[in-house]
């Protein structure tokens, strides 16, 4: 157990050292950052960095996109347009890989996800165009503020495992937003239903816009809305949120792809690195629950959010 903790701590420190080291390298050069380095350096660094990020993201219980976009845009020489394009593909790959398992275990529910997905994915297209139309510094400032808000949310929100739902509302009942899932450990079958469907759907318009605008996976926002507002049990909220990302991020990813914002040389090492890291993270998670990693990630998000604000304000 101690070895696992040491390993995780080592990976985290290594990732931070890499960040600082390579960002110094990029900033120190004159002209376009990175232009004098051989082309293979950056994909290799990204692959390794994203691998470590994938391990940390799983252990901290956050999506890869929410760490990838602020850290890579803040500390690597890539323009925010390409980072957001790659960030959406990173979040999409993770969600698509997790989706089948969640659907088969009934932890992601189509009847809960589909109505929400229509709204969120439509709005993510709007967000993607908004993000590409606004000046980069404005998007960077908004991104910084959002990342700091996410850090506060992670530090303060207390999700409820099985929220109390007095009566299902008319919309939720009409759409059949209810179901049963089986607890894998005890075999217990748990019935659930949702309420406050309309305010939930309204909030998903905002979540969709933010997902498209910043290229973030929006699990950090989906889970509290599904769980705390709409009353879905935590397991259903987490599973449906992850599945939902595969739909929401698809719309925005196409916009970035069609606008020339995806550079395979940097996008593919990011996707592969994060996915491989996530697999290792899941294995480590089975052995230990390093709670301190979550606090470390909250600290890193504050740092990355501050850096995005700094860059956006041109300080």
């Amino acid at each position: 157990m101690r070895d696992v903790r040491r390993g995780v701590l080592f990976c985290t420190i290594l990732a931070l050292v890499l960040l600082v080291g390579f960002s110094d390298l990029a900033w120190a050069e004159e002209g376009p950052p990175g232009s004098t380095s051989p082309w293979w350096v950056w994909p290799l660094v990204l692959l390794f960095f994203c691998f470590v990020l994938g391990v940390i993201a799983v252990l901290a219980g956050v999506g890869g996109g929410v760490l990838y976009v602020p850290l890579v845009s803040g500390f690597f020489p890539f323009h925010l347009d390409f980072v957001r394009g790659a960030g959406l593909l990173v979040a999409l790959a993770g969600a698509l890989a997790a989706g089948p398992g969640l659907l088969r275990r009934n932890l992601a529910n189509l009847r809960l996800a589909l109505p929400v997905a229509v709204i969120a994915s439509s709005c993510s297209i709007l967000g993607a165009y908004l993000g590409l139309a606004l000046p980069t510094n404005v998007v960077q400032i908004c991104l910084g503020a959002t990342i700091i808000f996410i850090a506060v949310l992670l530090a303060t929100s207390k999700n409820v495992e099985r929220p109390e739902v007095k009566n299902q509302d008319a919309i939720g009942a009409a759409l059949g937003m209810s179901g049963v899932y089986t607890e894998p450990w005890s075999g217990e079958e748990v019935e659930w239903k949702t309420h406050r469907t309309l305010p939930g759907l309204v909030l998903f318009t905002v979540i969709g816009v933010m997902a498209g605008m910043f290229g973030l996976g929006a699990g950090w926002a989906n889970v509290p809305v599904l769980n705390l507002l709409m009353g879905a049990p935590l397991k259903i909220a987490v599973g449906t949120s992850k599945f939902l990302l595969s739909i929401t991020d698809t719309s925005a990813a196409w916009v970035y792809l069609n606008q020339g914002c995806v550079i395979p040389l940097m996008a593919i090492p990011s996707i592969v690195g994060l996915m491989l890291g996530s697999f290792l993270g899941v294995r480590i998670l089975a052995m230990a629950k390093p709670r301190y990693i979550r606090y470390l990630v909250i600290g890193v998000l504050f740092f990355a959010g501050g850096r995005a604000l700094w860059k956006g304000l041109g300080l």
Binding site: A133, V180, S251, W254
Partner: protein, 151 residues
Amino acid sequence: MERARTVGKGDASMKDSAKESREQVVYANLLFYGSWISILLMGITYLIYITGLLDPYVPLQEVIRYWSGPSSQYVHDARVPVGWGWASLLAKGDFLNFIGIALLAGMTLICFLTLIPAYLKKKDLAFLAITVVEILVLCLAASGILGTGGH
């Protein structure tokens, strides 16, 4: 106040609904194979790209000059096609990678198509309508007809 409740032993109908629906299983299976094929394709095409087996459209050493500037500059200066223009450049090492990327981004659309016959069969008109609208939204995003721009 009613909590999410544990299902009783005699509650047979509820136990049935604990099983995932058939359309959900079909969706999951298709998503599973499609996602992993696209990731495998990405790995293979990336190796072809970086080993130089196929010449890239934008030389590798030039790409790192463009990625620190806005996407509009990359598109303009490197003459990178927007929309589905990449499909005509699949013989180039860099654009070959878009096969896997497009499949990854297209899997959701493919999976949604399987839901139409399932909801038709169930005569579930509300979810049929939701599915059709979602397919239209995804087609709109993928088509690129909403215009091009960027900074």
